[in-house]
Amino acid sequence: MTKKFNIEVDCANCAAKIEDAIKKLPGVTRATISFMSQKMLLEAADAEFDTVLQAAVKTAKKVEPDFEITL
């Protein structure tokens, strides 16, 4: 399953770092963050999508405390 989310991230470098960190999470098959359009795309297996998403948000906040996401 692939889903797109609206996010809020303030700096381009942080966006790149968040993307990098999420890509390394187990279960994530694809992850992209666009700083310009303030969007995050996440792909993971249907069964574990919610768990993966939670982990992704947690990781993102760890990298950049100001990271916001509209679920």
Binding site: C11, A16, E19, M36
Partner: protein, 624 residues
């Protein structure tokens, strides 16, 4: 300004006033150092508490070496060295820079998004009693009737039920030529209704309609990243730690080597701190996605949808373009192109007799004969029509025996005729057993095809045409347009294998693009380095299969797309060189002690502003 930005602005103002007060107080009143520190600590915390918090959180989470960390170390370091005012001022300046950056990026983000803003806000749904109700386009179901008033955007795809108007498609195609519609015409969402009231039967739900498809495509385009973008983020990953190590070396090594007491140490530590501030990588990282975003936005304003920064990058390096013929370079519509009457017949007579004889046929050839004939066609003049499969039509026209058809038809009646050799389909006509002449029916070249090919040639691009059509037709078209190479009579599978061969032939490090109208082209579109589909307005298949989508069917857009791509890549490289160059110079000046902390922050913010301004040049588009 967003709420967040406003909050930062107030904090900056408060901190600025407090800093000024602290500076005046410490200037006129002799306070012990600790009290001085206290005076400056208040504005410092007001302006810098978030940076300090993020720096600490970063260290806790193992995310050292981000810009918060750099700023925290630099300003705390300045405080420790006793430069209280400087520590506060640098933090203040940094926040001003951040605010400006966020404002400038937000603004260009909005202006680019506005370019692509074709989202309809509402639909006027017609109630059973004829009254109108304004609803969200998503609520309208297929088959319902909506009303589009002049000046409004067509919210959903559909068919005109009643009314007559012209539509402005410029938001979709970049072309200002209006399209006229009347009852029965298909209308596409995203167009603007110019003058008349239209009643439209909705044929697709909002999610399936053209406007939603395009918006989705544009939205996703920034998620496909170009090599240059990935390069810069990868670069930043090594750059920041490297700079930190450099700063540490700068602070420790010279005093150790040179020797000396506290003054030497404090000088080098100050230089190391300046070094850290200069090194903030954000300006570098921000300018690349911004340039691509601008490039995609600028292209979409010209009716060219690029599905990602990577395709823009690939398009800039394209040196071979392969074209499909029918529907791409030609209109795909057959029309009479040449009349060759036999002696004793006039051109108009020839066409009129042929059109009359064919007036009952639904064959496309018959239709083009009727379309070409300007004289009124009275069906009463025709009798005894007989269609002979694979040959043509026999009929009585004004009481005369007429035979219209191919060469076989002439042979069937044992008529001696002059064979015609034009590129296209030849229709022969015989009246009362005597050859009356031939009519050449050919696909029409698109008016801009020739100039488009010339423009590509000027850019040094090799052009190849692959077509399923007969060789004489294909060669004639290629010769007229000045195409370098042509391969005709290809089955769809042959097209793929030819494309493979062309891919093997292309010069290294260049790309090959295939351009088609999206019908039966999907395998070749996907096999090529870049698939360009044209005439996509209303064709979902083309939008799906291609990497670059030309909304209208003008071949001149290909050259335009390439110029936009090259301009965008130019800006990307300029920004990389500019940002890296200025940083490098400032780092050296900082290490030598020439650039101070003020310069450092200014260099960081200044580079960012230049990069953002450079990237916004993409919005202006390129010369047509």
């Amino acid at each position: 300004m967003t709420k967040k930005q406003k909050k930062t602005m107030y904090r900056i103002l408060v901190a600025a006033v407090l800093t000024l007060a602290a500076a005046l107080l410490t200037h006129f009143v002799a306070l012990p150092p600790l009290a001085q520190l206290g005076c400056f600590l208040v504005p410092y915390l007001v302006i810098g508490h978030d940076v300090l918090r993020k720096a600490v959180l970063g260290v806790v989470h193992g995310e050292v070496f981000d810009e918060n960390f750099l700023m925290a170390v630099a300003t705390v370091g300045a405080m420790v060295l006793g430069e209280y005012a400087e520590g506060v001022a640098v933090m203040l300046f940094y926040q001003v820079g951040e605010l400006f950056q966020s404002y400038a990026v937000g603004k260009s983000r909005r202006s680019i998004s506005d370019l692509m803003d074709i989202r309809p806000d509402f639909a006027n749904l017609e109630n059973a009693d004829g009254s109108l109700r304004q609803v969200d386009p998503e609520e309208v179901a297929v088959g319902q009737v909506i009303v589009v008033r002049p000046g409004e955007r067509v919210p959903l795809d559909g068919t005109v039920l009643a009314g007559r108007s012209t539509l402005n498609t410029s938001a979709l195609t970049g072309e200002s030529k209006p399209r006229s519609v009347a009852a029965g015409s298909e209308v596409i969402s995203g167009c603007i209704n110019n003058d008349g009231l239209l009643k439209v039967t909705v044929s697709k739900g909002y999610g399936e309609s053209t406007v939603a498809k395009i918006l989705d495509l544009v939205e996703n385009s920034s998620l496909k990243k170009a090599k240059a973008e990935n390069f810069i983020t990868k670069f930043a990953r090594y750059y920041t730690p490297a700079v930190c190590v450099g700063a540490l070396a700068l602070a420790v090594l010279p005093p150790l080597v040179l020797g000396g007491g506290w003054p030497v140490w404090s000088t080098w530590v100050a230089r190391a701190l300046t070094f850290l501030v200069i090194s903030c990588p954000c300006a570098l990282v921000i300018s690349i996605p911004l340039s691509f975003f601008g490039g995609i936005g600028g292209a979409s304003r010209s009716g060219i949808l690029v599905k990602g920064g990577n395709y823009l990058e690939a398009l800039a390096e394209t040196k071979t373009i392969v074209f499909d013929k029918t529907g791409t370079l030609t209109k795909g519509v057959f029309a009479v192109s040449e009349l060759t009457p036999a002696p004793g017949f006039a051109e108009g007579e020839l066409l009129e007799i042929a059109a009359l004889a064919e007036s009952y046929s639904s064959h496309p050839i018959s239709k083009s004969l009727r379309d070409a004939c300007t004289a009124p066609l009275d069906a009463k003049r025709v009798a005894g029509v007989q269609e002979i499969a694979g040959h043509g039509v026999e009929a009585q026209v004004d009481g005369r025996a007429v035979a219209v058809g191919n060469a076989r038809m002439m042979a069937r009646h044992n008529i001696t005729f002059t064979p015609a050799n034009g590129a296209g389909t030849v229709v022969y006509l015989a009246v009362d057993g005597k050859f009356a002449g031939s009519i050449l029916i050919a696909d029409q070249l698109k008016p801009t095809a020739k100039s488009a090919m010339a423009a590509l040639k000027e850019q040094g691009i090799r052009t190849v045409m692959l077509t399923g059509d007969a060789a004489p037709v294909a060669e004639a078209v290629a010769a007229t347009l000045g195409i370098d190479e042509v391969h005709a009579e290809l089955l769809p599978a042959d097209k793929v294998s030819w494309l493979e061969r062309l891919l093997a032939q292309k010069p290294p490090k260049t790309n090959l693009a295939f351009t088609g109208d999206g019908i039966n082209d999907a395998p070749v579109l996907t096999r090529a380095d870049i698939g360009i589909a044209m005439g996509a307005l209303g064709s979902d298949a083309a939008i799906e299969a291609a990497d670059v989508v030309l909304m209208d069917d003008d071949p001149a857009k290909i050259g335009l797309a390439m110029r936009i791509a090259r301009k965008c890549m130019g800006i990307v490289y300029q920004n990389i060189v500019l940002a890296l160059g200025i940083k490098a110079v400032c780092l050296v000046l900082g290490a030598l002690g020439i650039a101070n902390m003020w310069w450092a922050v200014f260099a960081d913010v200044g580079v960012m502003i230049l990069a953002v301004l450079n990237a916004t040049r993409m919005l202006g588009g390129v010369k047509k």
